[in-house]
């Protein structure tokens, strides 16, 4: 069972929902632009990370070799780790759809969304592709009016293509 938070519904809150949709759109744009600074602005100061523990996709989201998965890590550092692990890719596209949001309190929310992400190395019209599909499960907090990611979880349910070929070379 995932470590999902206790959910308390506190009204529809259309403005907050739209702000969270915007944050998810900005997240996808930042990752695909390989813009670690833009991605860092969407992270809480500290974040928990629950990435796929096994399989080739785990390497793309490895925050730090010593991260134990239990203690929070520096959010902006994690954002830059994501873009660093994808720096060698010629094109990525993260298509996020079907967001579902429940509010846990005035400044907290839990969001799930579908993800379809394709990663290319080399010529994206002829190159090697690796694609994954799955779900984000995000704990969000509102800080100074902005919704940010406090717990980042990714569940990958399928993958397709040549994963090893698109893995980042060692730094």
């Amino acid at each position: 069972m995932r470590d999902e938070p206790q959910v308390v519904q506190t009204g529809y809150r259309a403005d907050d929902r739209v702000a969270i949709y915007e944050m998810l759109g900005a997240y996808a744009a930042a990752v695909d632009a390989n813009d670690g600074d833009a991605l860092a602005k969407l992270m809480n100061d500290t974040v928990h990370v629950t990435a796929p523990a096994t399989g080739p996709v785990a390497a793309l989201f490895a925050p730090d070799p010593v991260y134990d998965g239990k203690t929070p890590i520096d959010g902006p550092d994690y954002a830059r780790a994501i873009t660093r692990n994808m720096r060698h890719l010629s094109v990525t596209q993260h298509l996020i759809t079907n967001p579902r949001i429940t509010f846990t309190d005035e400044d907290g929310a839990y969001c799930t969304a579908y993800l379809r992400a394709i990663h290319f190395i080399g010529d994206p019209t002829e190159g090697i592709a690796y694609e994954v599909g799955g779900y984000y499960h995000l704990d969000l907090v509102r800080v100074l009016g902005d919704w940010r990611i406090a717990h980042w979880r990714l569940t990958v349910t399928w993958e397709f293509g040549n994963a090893q070929a698109v893995m980042a070379p060692p730094i």
Binding site: V18, E22, L95, I96, R116
Partner: protein, 157 residues
């Protein structure tokens, strides 16, 4: 980072407009497309691979020009009707407002295409990056930008 300028109703209307665009495009519906385009608009389509060649052949997509909205809608619809399959999936939009009646939106797009005279399927991906204007309560595309960044054949069908 400053708080997002919400303008909830405008954002919902823009998201709906993007969905309407994709639906009209896939349906080859020129009337529906014309509803989401400004009376005159600029357009800029860029791509790589086989889609770049297709853009070069078809001025409806490629290059930067100014065009009447009705003419552009007709071209898009005609091209779509020539396909056996046209299926466009749009992601969540990132929207920035630059005035009461002006905005820019960035949204990912993936499309599955099959030509009417071909058994081959192609999937393409990239993003739209449109300038929008608000006319009455309707948001319309004033500068249509499409950047297709990847493509791949779909096998095993």
């Amino acid at each position: 980072m400053t708080a997002v300028n919400l303008r909830t109703e405008d954002r919902l209307r823009i998201s709906q407009m993007l969905t309407d665009y994709a639906t009209a495009l896939d349906g080859g519906d020129a009337t529906g497309l014309a509803l989401v385009l400004a009376a005159r608009l600029r357009k800029l389509g860029t791509a790589s691979g086989s889609m770049a060649k297709a853009f070069a052949r078809d001025p409806a997509y490629g290059g930067q020009t100014e065009i009447a909205g009705l003419d552009f809608a007709s071209s898009l619809a005609r091209n779509s009707r020539a396909m056996r399959v046209s299926h466009h999936q749009v992601g969540l939009a990132s929207i920035g407002f630059s005035g009461e009646a002006a905005a820019r939106c960035h949204v990912g797009i993936r499309a599955v295409l099959q030509g009417s005279d071909s058994d081959s399927w192609l999937e393409v991906g990239g993003h739209y990056d449109h300038d929008l204007v608000k006319e009455s309560e309707y948001w319309r595309i004033a500068f249509w930008r499409l950047d297709l960044r990847w493509e791949r054949p779909l096998l095993g069908r």
